[in-house]
C-alpha cells in the first residue's frame, strides 16, 4: 500500500476516549472512506495533555500539529482546511512541533519543561503496532543486552545509572537486581507491579496504554540479568484498555521472537503472563501481590525473607514498578552516564507525575528529578483553576501527605519530599486550592486506608478506625480539644506497630495536615467553622440571585421547607431551618446554590 504523506492520529487513551475520541475517530474514518488515500488514520496513547482531550495530530514531513478539544465537527474542518487545504487552524492548535522541537501552540508551557524518557513513545506511536515501536528504536536495547552484554554487566549498568524504584520507596533498582541474581534456584520470577492503587494517579495506566512494549522490553532485560524464566504483570482490573493493549503487545513480541524460547538466538528463554487484580489496594504491596497471584487473599507477610530470596511461589523474585521497567531500555541504549546526568545527584533521571485536582492543566508530565513543586504546579500545570489560591499538593496518595504552598520551593526527589513528612509515592500529585478542607482531606484518606486495611495487624485494623471516627466527628463539628493530641498519639502507634507499608504510612495524611494546617483543625474544633467552606455540617447554603431562574426545583426538593420563593422569582434559603443535607445543591440545574 502506498503511504499517504499526511498522517492523522487520534489520542485514544482512556482520557481521550472518555472525552469523545471515539466519535472523532469515527468522523475521520467516514471522511477517509469518502476520500480514499487522502490521509492515513491511526490511533495513539495518552499524549499527556489530558485536559485538552480529545487531541488530534496532523503529521506531515517532520511537522506535527496537535489540535486540542476536537469535536467531530472540528475534525471535519481540520480535514477540509488543513489536510486538504494545507491551512493550519491556528486558534485550535495545542502544540506545534517541527523536527522534534516545540515551536508554538497554546500549550507549549505544559511541554517545554518536560524531559521524556519513560513517555518517549507515548502519544507518538501506535501502541498496538510493534512495528512502530521497533521503528522508534524499540527492542534495540534488548538485542544489545542479550547479544553483547553479560548479565553482570547489565546489572552494573543499571546500578551506575542511579535508577531508583518508581513504585514509591525509591529502592536502588540495580542493587535489587543484584540480590535476586545472587540466589540459585530452579526457577526465578519477574513481576511487574501495575496495580497502581493510589486513588488520583494514572501514570502507569498511561504508560501501559501508550507504550506497552517499553515495559515488556524492560522486563525481558531484567529477566536476563537475574536469570528468570517467567514473568507476571499484575494489572488492576479497572484498566481494561491497558490489559487489552498488553495482551496484543505480548502476542506481537512472541511472534517477533522477543519472548518464548531462544530469544533472538541467544539461548535465553522467557515468557510473560498477565494477572488481573481484583480490587484490593493492599495488593500493591509486593508480598500481598504475590499471595494474590497465587490465588489467595492478598495479605502481606513479614520480610525477611525478601522476595529476592523467597518471593512468588517461594522462589527468588524481582518485583519492580511499571515506570521502573520502562526506564530500562533507554538506559541500556543511551548508557548509564546519560541517565545519571539528568536529575539530582541521589535521585537521577526523570519522574512522571499525574497532575490532577485544581490545576489548570491536568495530565501527565515527565520532568527531571529535582524540579520544584512550584514549577510543576505553576509552570507545567499552568496554575490554579478559576484563579483561586494554591494551598497545597497531596503527594503519595494514602501513604503520603499534604505539602503546603509555602514549601513550594521543595524539589521533588527521594530526599527532599520525605523531609516534609510526605512521600514521593508513585507520582500522583493532586493540587488543592483554598476551597479544599484539609481536615476533610485527612478524613478522606483515612476512610480509604481503613477500608483497605487487610485486617492482619490490630493497630492498622482498629487504630485507623479510631482515627477515622475522630476525624469524622471533627468535620461534623463535634470535635473535642483533646482530639488533635489523640490523633497524633494514635498515628505514632499505628506507624510503629504495623507490619506492612499500608499501616506504617496510613497516618501520614493526618500527621502532615496537623503539622501544616493545625489552625484548620482548631477552627473546626473550637469555632465549629470550616475555613475552606467545605464541610457540609459547618457551612451555610446560599442561592446566587444572578444564577437562580426561579424554577422552584430546590424548594420542591427541600425536605424541611427551608427554601422560599415563587415561580420565576429568585429563591432564598432560611439557614435557621436548613438541615444542611445538600439536596438543593444536587437538584439545581443551574449551579446556583453554593456553600460558605
Amino acid at each position: 500500500m502506498k503511504k499517504s504523506k499526511t498522517q492523522v492520529i487520534v489520542g485514544m487513551g482512556t482520557c481521550g476516549l472518555s472525552a469523545g475520541a471515539r466519535q472523532v475517530h469515527d468522523a475521520l474514518s467516514a471522511l477517509l472512506a469518502e476520500h480514499p488515500g487522502s490521509f492515513e488514520l491511526s490511533g495513539t496513547g495518552c499524549i499527556g495533555m489530558c485536559y485538552r482531550e480529545p487531541l488530534v495530530e496532523v503529521r506531515e514531513k517532520g511537522r506535527r500539529t496537535i489540535y486540542g478539544g476536537v469535536t467531530p465537527e472540528l475534525a471535519a474542518e481540520i480535514f477540509e482546511r488543513h489536510v486538504r487545504g494545507g491551512d493550519v487552524l491556528e486558534e485550535n492548535v495545542a502544540l506545534n512541533i517541527a523536527d522534534g522541537e516545540i515551536e508554538g501552540g497554546q500549550e507549549q508551557g505544559f511541554q517545554i519543561l518536560q524531559r521524556k524518557i519513560v513517555l518517549r513513545n507515548c502519544g507518538t506511536i501506535d501502541p498496538e503496532s510493534i512495528g512502530e515501536y521497533e521503528g522508534s528504536g524499540g527492542y534495540k536495547a534488548l538485542r544489545k543486552a542479550l547479544l553483547e552484554m553479560q548479565p553482570g554487566e547489565i546489572i552494573e549498568e543499571v546500578k551506575k545509572s542511579g535508577l531508583r524504584g518508581r513504585g514509591g520507596a525509591g529502592f536502588p533498582t540495580g542493587l535489587k537486581w543484584s540480590f535476586a541474581a545472587r540466589y540459585e534456584a530452579d526457577r526465578k520470577y519477574i513481576v511487574c507491579n501495575a496495580d497502581e492503587g493510589d486513588p488520583g494517579a494514572f501514570m502507569d495506566r498511561s504508560v501501559l496504554e501508550g507504550d506497552p512494549h517499553s515495559v515488556i522490553e524492560g522486563m525481558i532485560i531484567c529477566a536476563r540479568a537475574i536469570g528468570a524464566s517467567y514473568g507476571y504483570i499484575y494489572c488492576r482490573a479497572e484498566y481494561p484498555l491497558a490489559i487489552r493493549r498488553l495482551t496484543i503487545a505480548l502476542e506481537a513480541a512472541r511472534k517477533n521472537g522477543y519472548l518464548g524460547s531462544d530469544i533472538l538466538g541467544s539461548g535465553f528463554d522467557f515468557d510473560v503472563k498477565i494477572k488481573q487484580g481484583a480490587g484490593a489496594f493492599v495488593c500493591g504491596e509486593e508480598t500481598a501481590l504475590f499471595a494474590s497471584i497465587e490465588g489467595k487473599r492478598g495479605m502481606p507477610r513479614i520480610r525477611p525473607p525478601f522476595p529476592a530470596e523467597k518471593g512468588l511461589w517461594g522462589k527468588p523474585t524481582n518485583n519492580n514498578n511499571v515506570e521502573t521497567y520502562a526506564n530500562i531500555p533507554w538506559i541500556i541504549t543511551n548508557g548509564a552516564g546519560a541517565y545519571a546526568a539528568i536529575g539530582t545527584e541521589k535521585s537521577t533521571g526523570t519522574k512522571v507525575f499525574a497532575l490532577a485536582g485544581k490545576v489548570v492543566r491536568g495530565g501527565l508530565a515527565e520532568v527531571p528529578m529535582g524540579t520544584t513543586i512550584d514549577t510543576l504546579v505553576n509552570e507545567v500545570g499552568g496554575g490554579i483553576k478559576e484563579g483561586r489560591k494554591f494551598k497545597a499538593v497531596q503527594m503519595g496518595g494514602p501513604s503520603g501527605g499534604c505539602i503546603p504552598a509555602s514549601l513550594g520551593q521543595t524539589p521533588v526527589d527521594f530526599e527532599s519530599i520525605p523531609a516534609t513528612g510526605a512521600i514521593m509515592g508513585s507520582g500522583g500529585m493532586v493540587v488543592l486550592d483554598d476551597t479544599t478542607c484539609m481536615v476533610e482531606m485527612a478524613r478522606f484518606f483515612l476512610n480509604f486506608t481503613q477500608s483497605e486495611s487487610c485486617g492482619k495487624c490490630t493497630f492498622c485494623r482498629i487504630g485507623t478506625l479510631r482515627m477515622l471516627e475522630i476525624l469524622t466527628r471533627i468535620t461534623q463539628g463535634e470535635g473535642e480539644p483533646e482530639d488533635i493530641e489523640r490523633l497524633r498519639t494514635l498515628g505514632a502507634q499505628i506507624k510503629e506497630a504495623s507490619l506492612c507499608g499500608l499501616g506504617q504510612t496510613a497516618p501520614n495524611p493526618v500527621l502532615t495536615t496537623i503539622r501544616y494546617f493545625r489552625d484548620e483543625y482548631e477552627a473546626h474544633i473550637r469555632d465549629k467553622k470550616c475555613p475552606a467552606g467545605s464541610c457540609q455540617a459547618l457551612v451555610d447554603f446560599f442561592i446566587d440571585p444572578e444564577a437562580c431562574t426561579g424554577c422552584t426545583l430546590c424548594a420542591k426538593n427541600c425536605p424541611v421547607g427551608a427554601i422560599s420563593g415563587s415561580a420565576k422569582q429568585v429563591h432564598v434559603i432560611d439557614n435557621s431551618i436548613c438541615v444542611k443535607c445538600g439536596k438543593c445543591m444536587t437538584s439545581c440545574n443551574f449551579g446556583a446554590i453554593y456553600k460558605r
Binding site: 481484583a278 496518595g397 493532586v430 439536596k583 444536587t586 440545574n589
Partner: protein, 167 residues
C-alpha cells in the same frame, strides 16, 4: 471475554494460582458469583468452599448478588473527591434511589463507589459499564441517567411491539 467459564473449569489442570481467574470468569459469565459456581470451583480445584468464599469477600471486585443491567462506577478518588464527587454520588443516589452497592428495583442500575478510574484530569468522573463520563455536574449527570432510562424504555417498547407483530 476470552474463554467461557465452563471451558475454563474443564481445562483446569491443577495449576496453582487459577482460583482468582476462575472467579473472574464466573463473574463474567453470571454477572456475579452464585452459590453453585462456588461449589463447582471448590469441587474442581479442591480448595475448600470456605476458603473460596474467603477469597471472594477479600476482593472488592467480586459480588455475591446479581448486578443491575448497567453498572455505574462512581469515582471517589482523590482528584474526584476534591472536585465535588460527593455531590455527584448524592445526585445518583437521589435520582435512582439506591446507595453504594445497591440495585434499582427495575434491575437497570447498580451503583458502586470506586477509588480512581484513572481519568483524574476529567474529574469528577463516573463509568457506566465500559463508558467513562467526565466533567460532570449534577444537572448533566441527571440528563445522562435519564437518557439511559429513556433508551431502555424505547428498547423495551420496541421489543414488545416486535412480539405483538409476530403474534
Amino acid at each position: 471475554m476470552e474463554e467461557s467459564f465452563s471451558y475454563r473449569l474443564w481445562r483446569y489442570d491443577g495449576q496453582p494460582g487459577e482460583l482468582i481467574p476462575l472467579l473472574q470468569s464466573a463473574q463474567d459469565h453470571f454477572g456475579y458469583i452464585p452459590r453453585r459456581a462456588i461449589r463447582y470451583i471448590a469441587g474442581v480445584t479442591g480448595v475448600p468452599e470456605s476458603e473460596v468464599y474467603g477469597v471472594i469477600t477479600f476482593y472488592s471486585q467480586f459480588r455475591l448478588q446479581p448486578m443491575g443491567k448497567h453498572v455505574i462506577r462512581a469515582c471517589d478518588g482523590t482528584a474526584c473527591h476534591v472536585s465535588g464527587s460527593r455531590m455527584i454520588i448524592e445526585t445518583i443516589e437521589d435520582e435512582l434511589g439506591i446507595e453504594d452497592g445497591g440495585t434499582t428495583e427495575d434491575g437497570l442500575f447498580t451503583l458502586s463507589i470506586v477509588a480512581c478510574i484513572g481519568c483524574c484530569s476529567l474529574a469528577p468522573v463516573i463509568m457506566i459499564d465500559e463508558d467513562t463520563h467526565g466533567r460532570l455536574t449534577p444537572s448533566s449527570l441527571r440528563k445522562l441517567l435519564r437518557e439511559y432510562r429513556r433508551r431502555e424504555k424505547q428498547a423495551a417498547a420496541a421489543a414488545e411491539a416486535g412480539c405483538a407483530d409476530r403474534a
